[in-house]
């Protein structure tokens, strides 16, 4: 078997939390990503889902080395990059890119679209044969905008169009891997569908891999080959998309899926919902044993003491002592 494009092992990212007052010491650590492992193959899309605060965005950013990992290993094309410095990462950035949630704040309002997308070529000193301007115009057309948009500014575009600009920038250097962090969450449904289709098309055209981070489970199901479910900085379950949506093994996955409303009144009203009680515990002080134990209806004494590790259950890998 070929080596995976990306291999993440026991990745941790902790943030120090300051106490009150200017001179106070650290009050604790926010364990945003608390030991996650997964692989991503070439051309594959891995969806990462979970509720706010589960660490899915931090995971994405740490893998791209936008944050320095606290510990763990990140291998990209077999190369260990977790300890790389900023300058050592630079050549790799042509191969790994990111698409952000909010196209309003991720595009410089003072730069024209041409300058924003053209910067990718300039920074890496890449000179396309046809010239930067023509290359940018081709990219604009590829993402469904017009070549004439080259001289316009971000504020002249709608949210969906701005997201297309962000996509054009990400694919400018034909990367192998893109982290998509909630790329369609800020868009209206009719526009969301356009952007999801565009992301699928360019992935298949260029043979790229995505780490697709989103809280919307229906969108993730649509675009992903495999899905990982995160809770409090840990992966609870990771499985092929069809399997995880039809037969979830982890109680949390089950609860999460049952909470997603179905746009069909008859199905929606008769389906069974698991309404979780309680609140998400603080990532500064996660529960001992299984992190989900405080809200799990199946929890037993063992769950509060021993932390479950990912184990094979059917087609899935599940971190649960009593999988469904």
């Amino acid at each position: 078997m070929n080596q995976p494009l990306l291999e993440v092992t026991n990745l941790e990212k902790f943030f120090p939390v300051a106490g009150s007052g200017i001179f106070s010491r650290e009050r604790g650590t926010n364990k945003a990503v608390n030991g996650i492992s997964f692989t991503l193959n070439e051309g594959e899309t891995l969806g990462l889902v979970g509720e706010s605060g589960c660490g899915k965005s931090t995971a994405g950013r740490t893998i791209l080395k936008l944050y320095d990992p606290t510990s763990g290993s990140i291998k990209f094309e077999g190369e260990e990059i977790s300890g790389y410095s900023h300058s050592k990462m630079k050549p790799l950035r042509t191969k790994m890119q990111m698409i952000f949630q909010d196209p309003q704040s991720s595009l410089n309002p003072r730069q024209s679209v041409g300058a924003i997308i053209g910067a990718s070529f300039e920074v890496h000193n890449i000179k396309p044969e046809e010239g930067v301007k023509r290359a940018v115009q081709e990219l604009l057309e590829r993402v469904g905008l017009n070549a004439e948009h080259y001289d316009r500014y971000p504020h002249e575009f709608s949210g969906g169009q701005r997201q297309r600009i962000g996509i054009a920038r990400a694919i400018a250097l034909k990367p192998k891997f893109i982290v998509c962090d909630e790329p369609v969450s800020a868009l209206d449904v009719s526009i969301q569908a356009q952007v999801v289709n565009l992301l699928t098309d360019i992935r298949d055209d260029f043979g790229m891999s995505y780490l697709f981070i989103a809280h919307d489970l229906s969108v993730v199901q649509h675009i992903s080959d495999r899905v990982g479910v995160m809770y409090l900085g840990k992966i609870m379950e990771i499985a092929p998309t069809d399997s995880i949506y039809s037969t979830p093994h982890h109680p949390y996955t089950k609860a999460l899926l049952s909470a997603v409303p179905i746009p069909d009144p008859k199905l929606e009203r008769k389906r069974e919902q698991i309404v979780l009680t309680g609140e998400l515990p603080s990532p500064m002080n996660p529960p001992t044993g299984c992190v989900f134990s405080t809200r799990c209806w199946k929890a037993q004494a063992k769950c509060f003491e021993v932390e479950p590790i990912l184990q094979k259950v059917g087609k899935a890998e599940v971190a649960c002592h009593f999988p469904e």
Partner: protein, 333 residues
């Protein structure tokens, strides 16, 4: 007679770029005890419609016309053109509202006890203790543990879901007949959304309120609404019972909207059927059908037909649609 009756409501904003027709002639009725969902995308006018008659739009550069008649204990009143003082007596008492973002809707400097008690004192001449008891009762009802203690807490000490529960408690302080919920679960995670939607269903049954649920999420609508109004470009384009709308959508926009959502029950990898193009600019929208530029069935009609505005007409009992495709259908009363 309906509890709330909106007739030909129009809202215009004067902006430096020109007049924005945010709402252009919306009419609908809200019956007692029903849940009416108003669905639409950003800029469709779904929020502005309700903010207009609640007197929550800026006074300057805004023109509101039409009538919104509410049945109250003192008879029928028209909320449009009412004085600020009179409207204040109705707001929070007969009609209450909850918003998308409870962090910005609650005052960060006052304890939630102060805010809940104030909401009650504003409409009732009773001792503060009475209001306090009411606050404790309602916090318990919406599922806040230790309500007695939590009265002293400030909004930032609550999680997003808990803040939304506090907002709901505040809205219920005076037993409103109408609750307007403007994207009440949009900022929440799915598991918390499920909790809040269940809570809203429970209290609606208990208090026998009518609810106007403003949302863009057709999944939420499917589970919560009795009737659905679909808005596009500041107009009501379709109105039907919830089952009717999902089984038999008529307006091409509604059809497109239902097609464009990825559905978890339909497997993975299927291509989404997106609606092409962009939502219209509301500046100089013109009189034609606002959806014409994106409509896939425009070619079925004679050339130029869609440049004239279609009327909202009933094609079957309780199913209204604004589209020229249904011009030839018999109008049903």
């Amino acid at each position: 007679m309906a509890l709330l009756s909106v007739r030909d409501l129009r809202v215009q904003f004067a902006t430096p770029d020109g007049i924005v027709d945010a709402v252009s002639g919306v009419s609908f009725d809200l019956k007692e005890g029903e849940t009416l969902a108003i669905v639409g995308e950003s800029g469709s006018g779904k929020s502005v419609t309700n903010l207009a008659y609640m007197g929550l739009l800026p006074k300057t550069r805004t023109t509101i016309t039409g009538s919104v008649v509410l049945k109250t204990e003192d008879g029928e009143v028209d909320l449009i053109g009412m004085s600020v003082e009179d409207l204040r007596k109705i707001r929070g008492k007969d009609v209450a509202m909850i918003f998308q973002d409870p962090m910005s809707a609650l005052h960060p400097y006052y304890s939630i006890g102060d805010q809940l008690i104030e909401a009650h004192q504003a409409h009732n001449e009773v001792a503060k203790e009475v209001s306090r008891d009411r606050a404790i009762e309602l916090l318990a009802l919406v599922g806040v543990a230790n309500p007695d203690e939590r009265l002293k807490a400030y909004p930032h000490q609550f999680s997003g879901g808990m803040r939304q529960r506090v907002m709901i408690a505040m809205a219920l302080m005076n037993n409103p007949k109408v609750l307007i919920a403007d994207e009440p679960t949009t900022a929440l995670d799915v598991t918390v959304q499920a909790q809040i939607l269940k809570l809203l269903r429970d209290i609606q049954a208990k208090f026998k309120m009518a609810v106007i649920l403003i949302t863009h999420d057709l999944g939420v609508v499917a589970g919560a609404a009795d009737r659905v109004n679909v808005m596009y470009g500041g107009r009501l384009v379709e109105s039907a019972s919830v089952n009717d709308l999902y089984e038999n959508p008529l307006m091409p926009y509604t059809v497109g909207l239902l097609d464009s959502i990825p559905r978890m029950d339909q497997g993975h990898g299927k291509r989404l059927r997106a609606i092409p193009g962009q939502p219209p600019s509301l500046i100089q929208l013109g009189s034609g059908c606002a959806f014409a530029a994106r409509c896939s069935r425009k070619s079925e009609l004679p050339n130029g037909k869609c440049e004239t505005s279609p009327e909202l007409k009933a094609v079957s009992a309780g199913h209204l649609v604004r589209c020229h495709l249904y011009d030839s259908k018999e109008s049903v009363k």
